[in-house]
Each structure stands twice: as structure tokens, then as C-alpha cells.
Symmetry: C2
Subunit: 417 residues, 2 copies
Amino acid sequence: MDISAYMQSLGRQARAAGRVLASADSAQKNAALDAIATALESARAALAEANAKDLAAGRAKGLDEAMLDRLALTAARIDGMIEGLRQVSALPDPVGEITDMSFRPSGIQLGKMRVPLGVIGIIYESRPNVTIDAASLCLKSGNATILRGGSEAIHSNTAIAACIAAGLAQAGLPAGCVQVVETTDRAAVAELITLSEYVDVIVPRGGKSLIERISRDARVPVLKHLDGICHVYIDDSADMDKAFAIAVNAKTHRYGVCNAMETLLVNQGVAFEILPRLAEAYSAKGVELRGCEKTRAVIDALPATEEDWGTEYLAPVLSIRVVDDMAAAIDHIETYSSRHTDVIVTEDYSRAHQFLRQVDSSSVMVNASSRFADGFEYGLGAEIGISTDKLHARGPVGLEGLTSQKWIVFGTGQIRR
Amino acid sequence: MDISAYMQSLGRQARAAGRVLASADSAQKNAALDAIATALESARAALAEANAKDLAAGRAKGLDEAMLDRLALTAARIDGMIEGLRQVSALPDPVGEITDMSFRPSGIQLGKMRVPLGVIGIIYESRPNVTIDAASLCLKSGNATILRGGSEAIHSNTAIAACIAAGLAQAGLPAGCVQVVETTDRAAVAELITLSEYVDVIVPRGGKSLIERISRDARVPVLKHLDGICHVYIDDSADMDKAFAIAVNAKTHRYGVCNAMETLLVNQGVAFEILPRLAEAYSAKGVELRGCEKTRAVIDALPATEEDWGTEYLAPVLSIRVVDDMAAAIDHIETYSSRHTDVIVTEDYSRAHQFLRQVDSSSVMVNASSRFADGFEYGLGAEIGISTDKLHARGPVGLEGLTSQKWIVFGTGQIRR
């Protein structure tokens, strides 16, 4: 197979389908989403069969339990895909929205119209349900999608793609609206991330090494986050009960997620008061603590190194640093944060506002758990991923992040003098 | 000189200065802009002397008249720089704006805060006044700047930089807020566009080959437009007087600009009526016409080729194509447009709205000259450039385009259940 020609062909079809989809009304897009959900419901047996093939091949290849678990298309996960489609269908459609229309002194009426980005390339590993999650958000926001899943899920993803194709056809939308890359050849990824003529943005979903590789080699813009090194800073003005609840929740609510706290910063004025209480709670949950020297003067912990401050554990491990004051906390955050989510616990009005202003992360919070940095919690109704870059979209990316605004002008014959 | 170490050092200083500038209030930033204007006024003799050195060196190197003209810092241009600074100072400050604050079901209060991108690298050729134009917009929007001008303007730019430094000092802002790259070594550019750790966006200002080179090699995001291949489509429902005025203005108001029309599309139903009238006006202004076969059946023109449809002339040359209908016009535009600005002249309501919806350019207009695609005409009060990319900013980019929005949360102790 000529991979380059194949990918160019997918690109051309996606671009053409995207033009149709960009002008499709909400009713038609929702009809497609609902039809896809129905197709999935009818295809449960076929999906299970395809998934069984992938699981058998995975076991034979020696994939570990965690990976096999991510690969499995259980009945509950199929339920989740169907429910997710219904939810996205019910979301307001941002496409075509016109805002800020006003008359300029020249007499032209100027405004902004929200439009799809165009064609989105999704590159993902393991979890077959991402096929539906990502495709549904792209479809609703008027974008054509090219999906490249993990080779270990090729049969599952192909079966899901068949349901998507059926749904699109039923709604009268071109098949090119959602295409799945049919070859597992790695060269297809290299082509996709450099297909600038036809692809407007790449969204990688998976482990850090996948995202690093793609970001390094892509010529197409990438919407991504590399790390979730999130901080909670307990100020000496903090309410200790809030501090306790937030610090425990931000670390232990879930471990393997990007918005979990990885480093706790504590003002020296309250270290003696709050750290023993927290240490007890963390130990009860089996969290390994690594602390700076001042931390270890108060509680038992392994020594924390420079490397710890820059590590996303995604595990029951927490690094702790005692800092002199908020300025020192902000310095630490600006040095080590991955610009994902950072939190201050304080009852001081001025410090709360300074922290919000000075910390340059995609989400900055006062007195709330970092675990709230999530598309559903933010009311986006959906989330294609989280961006820690600064351009275009920051933080949880929903439908709006998959669109851009163009300028539109209603004139009555105006010319420049 | 170790270029890499030098550029890393500029980057570190910019990043540090940017943190201070991001929290600076409007009064302080405006004081800096006003102080820079005052410094320029006092330094007119020194600026003229430095510029004379550059012009002498330029003549000795054989620069042509057009290039020497761009290089010249006339009294009028210095007036322009000073006036520009006063205007930017008077603009509303977008930094720190909080919008969309609302309570989520979880009880957190969620909103968006507008913040500077951080550090902006400006790479430009020839015109020394860009030093001030670009630096003033970056400063006002809270961004630190690293300026790399053309080697032919090194003395002029250095003299301007001294005025900027004086202004910053007077306002109590760190010198790192605006830094000029002091070496003319080309390696400095290669370093700047890959300095991802310290630079958030690159804005290239200059010819197409400069912008192409930078876009190709940059690892830092680039805000740019490559081409301004703009269209005016005259529909058969158009008011012929509006069509005439717009088609003449869009081509001939100014030639060497990105928002000038380069291809005129005419509905076959009105070709006989409008083309002769336009041809007469264009010929009177010395515009060379290149047309498709159907065009040449109506007026005198050179034959237009496929290459003409994809050419930005930046000169008194216009390509003309007669099309069957609006769908054909949109097909042509979607094929050849550089996604800058495209216009329809029509009195048909449905077609006007379809054109606005279906044409995927940064500015789409009904019954107005493409020459309105400009930051000042759009009311941005300033323009650092025009973007034809789809992410982050589209069309004229003003202060807002040099910022992004982060999420902020006011909580009262909420945790995830």
C-alpha cells in the first residue's frame, strides 16, 4: 500500500466532507449521532466478537492486565458510548453562532461567526470507546474526523467505524465525515501529522511518549497536554478544614488522572498544624510521601529531590514542600508546574486575587480541588482533552475548542476612501 | 559569541520580565508607552544619525530604491511612531478581564480571565518603525518582547531600542520587557523560533519567503499570513453600481497590500453588463487584466492560467474568471483562496447568508470592499498582523490576539465526590 497516497486520499475526502458538514444544520448532525447510537445498540454482538479478537491477540502478544482492561469493550462501556452520543446530541450547537455584530464608523456591520476548524486528526491508543467519544464531539462541532487508533484495537475500532458509517448514511451525511485509518503501518501517523493541506488540528490521546513524539514531529497544530503536574498551596491564612479536605481530595480522589495534585506546598506558618493531620490521612490511603527537609522535620517522609518537583506520579505518591510565603509558592509553581491546574487555599482576599492573577496555568483555583478541572465539571458538556498550551484553547476543550471564529461583514456597498 | 547561550539568556530575561509585566496595571504600562514616545521625541537627532548610517551602508550594498525607502526613518515616520504610541496607550487594556463567571452545580464559581500570552518574538525586515509598532502592542497587552529586525536597520533599531529602554526604566518596568537581538548572525533567528521554553509565539513581519522559512522551521507557534489571495464575486443578483465601486476599490485602492483583490469572479449572467465597465476603469488606472476564455469573449485581456488563480500579484494586475453561479464561485474560492478575505456582491438574501456560512476565510464580506480587512477598520485600534491560520486568531490581530484566557475558580472548599 502506498501509505502517502492513501493518507492524501483520506485527507481529500475529509476536506470535502468537512465542507458539507460545516453547513449542516444541528438537526441533521443530531440525527447522525442518534443513528450511530442506534447502530451500536444493534451491533452489540458484532462489537463483542471483534473485541474478543483483539483481546485474544493482545494476550498472545503479552499485553499486561491494565492494557487488556483498557482494550476491553464491556457491555458497560458500550452503554457509555451510547449514552455519550445521546448527551452530545443534546448539547447546544456552537456552529454558526454570530456574536459582537456592530456598526463601524465606515458603515460596515462587523461581527464574528463561529465555524468548525475543518478536519481533525485523532491519534489514540488502547481504548476503543475513544473512537466514539472523539468522533461524536467532532461531528457535533461540524468537523470531519480522521481516526487513527491503536493497532491492538484494530478489529474493535473497525467494527465501531461500521456503526458510525451506518449512522452517517442514515442521516444523509457523506461517509468522509468520519474515516478510520485502515492500516496499522506506523508511517500512516507520520503522514497524518504532516498533512497540513487537509488536516487543521491533531488531537493525541494516550501516554506521554505518544504525545511527545507527535508534538515533536507534527507540522499540523496539536491540541494536547503533556503533563499534569498540579499543585495545591496551603497559605497560612487558610481555613484548615478546607485545606485538609482539598489536599486529600486533590491527591486521592483518583490517581492516574492529569488533574490530580502531584506536589503539595505548605506555608511554613501552618506546617506544624496541617502536615501531621494530612500525613495520617495519606498514610491510611497508602500514599507514599516525599518531602523537603522542612517537611521531614514535621512528618515522616522520604527525601524529595529536584526531580520530584518535576514529576507527575499518576500514582499514590505525593511530594511536599514547605515554603516561606505565597511568593515562594508561586515561584515554585512557575518553575515546575506544567500549566495544567494550580490551587491556593486561603482566606485572605488579596492573596486569593494575586494568586489568580499571577499563576500562569490553564486553570487557577481558590479553595477548590484541582479535580474540578474537567470539561463536564466546567459545564462544557463534553471534553475532547485538556490543553496546557496557551494558544487557541486552554484547559478542558469542549465543542467550542473545536471551532474558531471568522469575521463577517454585512455591507451596503462601502469602499475604502 | 555563543549565539545559543545569548538567546537563552534573552529568553530567560524575557520570561522573568513577562511575569512582572503580566501583573502590571494599565497605568504603569501606559506610563511606559508615553515615556517611550517622549524619549523618541527627544532623540530625533540621534535617530536621524543612526538611520543615516544604515542608509549609507544600504546604498553601498546596492539596496534598491524601494528598500531604501522602507529603511528610511523620516521625520514623518518618527511622528507616526510617536502618535502610534499615544494611540496604543489610549486603548482599553484587555489584560485581567474576567468574563463568563457563573456557579456550577458543584458550587464552584467558574470564569475566564484574559492574560498575556507571555513572551512574543517579533522577526521583521526593513522598516525600523515596526520596532515601535510591535513592541507597543506587546507591552500594552502585557507581553515581553524579543525583537529581531533586519540587519540593514541595525543602527536605527538599536537607537529606537535605547528610547524604549529609557521609557521602561522611567515607568519602573524591567528592561527585559523589550529586548532587541544585538547580533545580526542568522543563527539567532534559528534559535529564537525554536526557543519553546521561553517564547510563546513568533510574529514574522516581512516578505513571503521570510515567513515561509520561519513557519517551516519554527517549533514555537507562529501568527502569520502567507498570502493575501482575495476574491470579489459579483453575483447575477448584484447591484451593478455597488459591484463596480467595490471591484474597483478592492483592486486599486492600494496594490501592495494583503487585502487587495487578486481575482475577480463574475457570474455569467452579468458578465456582459459589468465587465466592459470595469475593464475601462482598470485600464484607466493601468491595471493589467488576465482572463479566462469567457472573460476574453467580453473584454480584452491576456489569457489567465491555473497559476494566475493562485497568484498574489501585489501589483496592478488582476485575474478575472466568469463562473456559472455562486456554487462555482465558492468552489473556486475554496480551491485558490489563501483564506484571507473574500467578498460577494449580491442583493439576494439567501445567497448572502450562504456565502457567509460556506466560505472558510478569516474575513467574509457581503457588499463591502476587501480593503476593510484591517485592524483599525475593525475597531481593534491596532494590528500586529493578519492571521490566515484557523487556530487562536483569524484575520486582523490586535491586543486581544496577543492574549489568551485561563479558567479561574472561586471556591468555598469544594471537593469532588
